[in-house]
């Protein structure tokens, strides 16, 4: 074997081995081959045999091509006799793929209909995409303990074993919602409402990502679905229904509340927050943000992430503890929220200091003419370090 041939063989083998080993990665939360819900299993039941058939056909074609290349390579031999057409072979090679495709088509159609079934829905969540985060609002559903609408963002919480219907839409451009472990993708389109069904077999944290290019920070538009046991879900609902409590007087957090009222409430709602005159503080993101909405922060510290689920509110150690928890313990650990010891102060402070530096957004005032002066994403508020200290203290109270 010549040196060149040896190098080619080594290169191809290395590539094949790398690809093969990549499939063994353990930390792959968006792996499409590990279904954790009934709809994801329906998809998996289709994709496994289709992949097997496609794999077999692919290997056969590849081998035949390689055989022909080697066997009939130019060695200076005479031109063989040229013939035109071979009807039996041509008809056979047309009918066989047609039959394979027809077979795959039948099962694909059945899968599509199975996935679109919504008649046995047990719970509804409205999902709204915008640049670059996801908002979830839960309509009142007394049978599930949701006696008034709940609104949250980044992480959607569902009860385990419950068929949840997502009603997806968008406030600005087309986004696409995808939690690979629980179901396929569904586009969120402005002006339309699309439905997608999810359910999870076991409690756990299931990661996803926007899969329709939606602008500058598309890659930073992530989301998680948290499946909790029925009891844990009831506890989560009870917490979400409560208003935020004002911090005690003469504390740093109380000073942070004042900063929040002065700066943040223009866009971010905190239910229960009152202005100095005692009237409720109502956010006006419709006047400041292009999409007309900003995340509701009433229970910020009950979530593990912020800024479109792209950064952790938990520090590394605590995050590993929650994400690595077993299905029996993940609920309790998630419901514990973000404690003072676990808060990822570094990233939260960086975000408050200059959000567009962490996540690309159209936040430069010079570039806001096309949006009538409104921001896409959070701008740099020019907060002082003192204000940031106060805000972090206040945000930490939003459990």
């Amino acid at each position: 074997m010549s040196t060149t041939t040896r190098r080619i063989v080594a290169g191809v083998s290395g590539l094949a081995a790398t690809s093969f080993l990549a499939g063994c990665a353990k930390d792959a939360p968006q792996d499409t081959w590990q279904p954790k819900g009934s709809n994801a299993k329906i998809i998996d039941d289709l994709q496994q045999p289709v992949f097997a058939i496609a794999g077999v056909v692919g290997v056969i074609v590849f081998c035949v091509v390689v055989y022909c290349i080697i066997k009939f390579r130019d060695r200076g031999q005479a031109m063989p006799e040229q013939t035109h057409g071979k009807p039996a072979l041509e008809i056979g090679m047309t009918i066989l793929p047609a039959l394979i495709l027809a077979g795959v088509g039948v099962f694909t159609f059945r899968t599509v209909f199975d996935l679109s079934k919504t008649s046995d829905t047990q719970m509804v969540v409205n999902v709204t995409g915008q640049q670059w985060w996801w908002e979830y609002d839960y309509p009142a559903q007394p049978e599930l303990g949701i006696t008034a609408p709940i609104i949250t963002s980044g992480q959607m919480v569902i009860p385990v074993g419950t068929k949840v219907l997502l009603r997806e839409t968008s406030r600005d451009v087309i986004h696409s919602y995808w939690i690979p472990a629980l179901n396929g993708k569904r586009d969120a389109v402005p002006g339309r409402v699309h439905t997608l069904r999810l359910d999870a077999d076991k409690p756990g944290i299931y990661a996803g990502q926007c899969t329709e290019f939606c602008g500058l920070s598309h890659a930073n538009m992530r989301m998680e679905t948290i499946a909790l046991s029925k009891e844990d879900f009831a506890a989560w609902v009870a917490n979400q229904l409560a208003d935020a409590k004002s911090p005690a007087e003469n504390t740093l957090a109380k000073e942070g509340e004042a900063v929040f009222l002065n700066q943040c409430v223009r866009c971010h709602q905190v239910n229960g927050l009152k202005k100095a005159d005692g009237t409720p503080a109502i956010a006006a993101p419709d006047e400041n943000v292009w999409s007309g909405a900003a995340p509701n922060l009433t229970h910020l510290m009950s979530r593990n992430t912020f800024a479109g689920a792209s950064w952790d509110l938990l520090n590394k150690k605590c995050r590993a503890d929650v994400w690595g928890a077993s299905s029996e313990t993940v609920g309790k650990k998630y419901l514990a929220g973000v404690s003072e010891e676990c808060l990822n102060q570094t990233d939260l402070r960086r975000w408050l200091r200059n959000a567009p530096a962490m996540k690309p957004m159209y936040a430069d005032p010079k570039q806001l003419t096309p949006t009538n002066g409104k921001y896409r994403g959070m701008p740099n508020l020019g907060l002082s370090e003192d204000d940031i200290d106060k805000l972090v203290a206040y945000l930490s109270t939003l459990k």
Partner: protein, 373 residues
Amino acid sequence: MFTPGSKFFLGLTGFSLAVCVLYIALVDNATGGAVALLSIAAASGVVAGLSLFNRDGEVAVGDTAAPAGAEQLPSSMWPLIASVGFVGVVAGLITHPIVFFLGLIALLAAGTEWLVQSWSEGASSDKAYNASLRGRMLHPLEFPVLALVGLGIIILSFSRVMLAVSRDAGAIIFIVAGAVVLFVGAIFALKPSLKKTLVVGICVASAVGVAASGIAAASNGLRDDLVKAKKEHHFSHKECGEEEGEHFDHLAEGTISMRSNPIATVELRDGKLTARELGVDKVTQTITFPRSNDATIIFRNKDEKEARLTAYLGTKAVQDGVVEEVLNCTQMIGIDHEQALTFKIAKPSMASEKPYTLTVPGLEGQSIEIMVP
């Protein structure tokens, strides 16, 4: 070194540039004039170069004359089209982008044709071979473009006719035109011996007829009901007072876009107002509406008389100390008819003193609450 002609054009170029600089320095909003002066400078500069290159067209000692009886090359229309295109580009810069793009297209097309034609004419002494060479290069480009332009003109013209005549006349024209095309096509297919000139004549006359009808119809404008419908704001009706609109969806769910679009369907039946949210198979008196997002509700009238749905969307300040209710309504919907109502609520329910509601005027004690989280 410089010929008299080139001196003249070089002088014109320099003068234009100098005037342009002064013009920009002294006149506000000088874009249009500056473009015109720069264009003059560019054009005279090119002519100066040409003039210099061919020594003002004078025959110098040593030039070889063309042999007697040498064949003249055919005249070409491409320089003319190229110059029209150039004028279009320049004029478009100061008038309208469409003029600019049409000029650019003419300039590029003429440039390409001119280039390939000149190249093919010098390929050999055989005219037929040169023509076939040109065809091989340009026909794959010319035929699809010409077909696209021709079809586009016919389709656009026909659509103008259909929008100008009444609905009934439109249906008759469509049937007759289709039948004529089928009949004539069948004749052409069954009689291949027909003279080519006759076939071409019929096709050209038909195309010209359709184009002329289209121009006449376009200058006449849309038919009356379309003009009126255009003035009405479909899907965002605000007719909570005197009825004006006539042209709206009487069966909104019958349109494909509405089937998966509405967030809820509100139904009036036997004097009761109920709602069904998308994906939930039960009736409700409360619907959740997305905040700061346009969303659509379908109102279906199954009652025994006409009715309209009114959405109360809070209040707005119209002047200091004066606020008025924000309402959005469907038209009066006939029995068994339905209409889509699209609106947006920017503030959550907690920001409104009164709950956001959907009601039917005259129907007491019945309402659907809109919850905005």
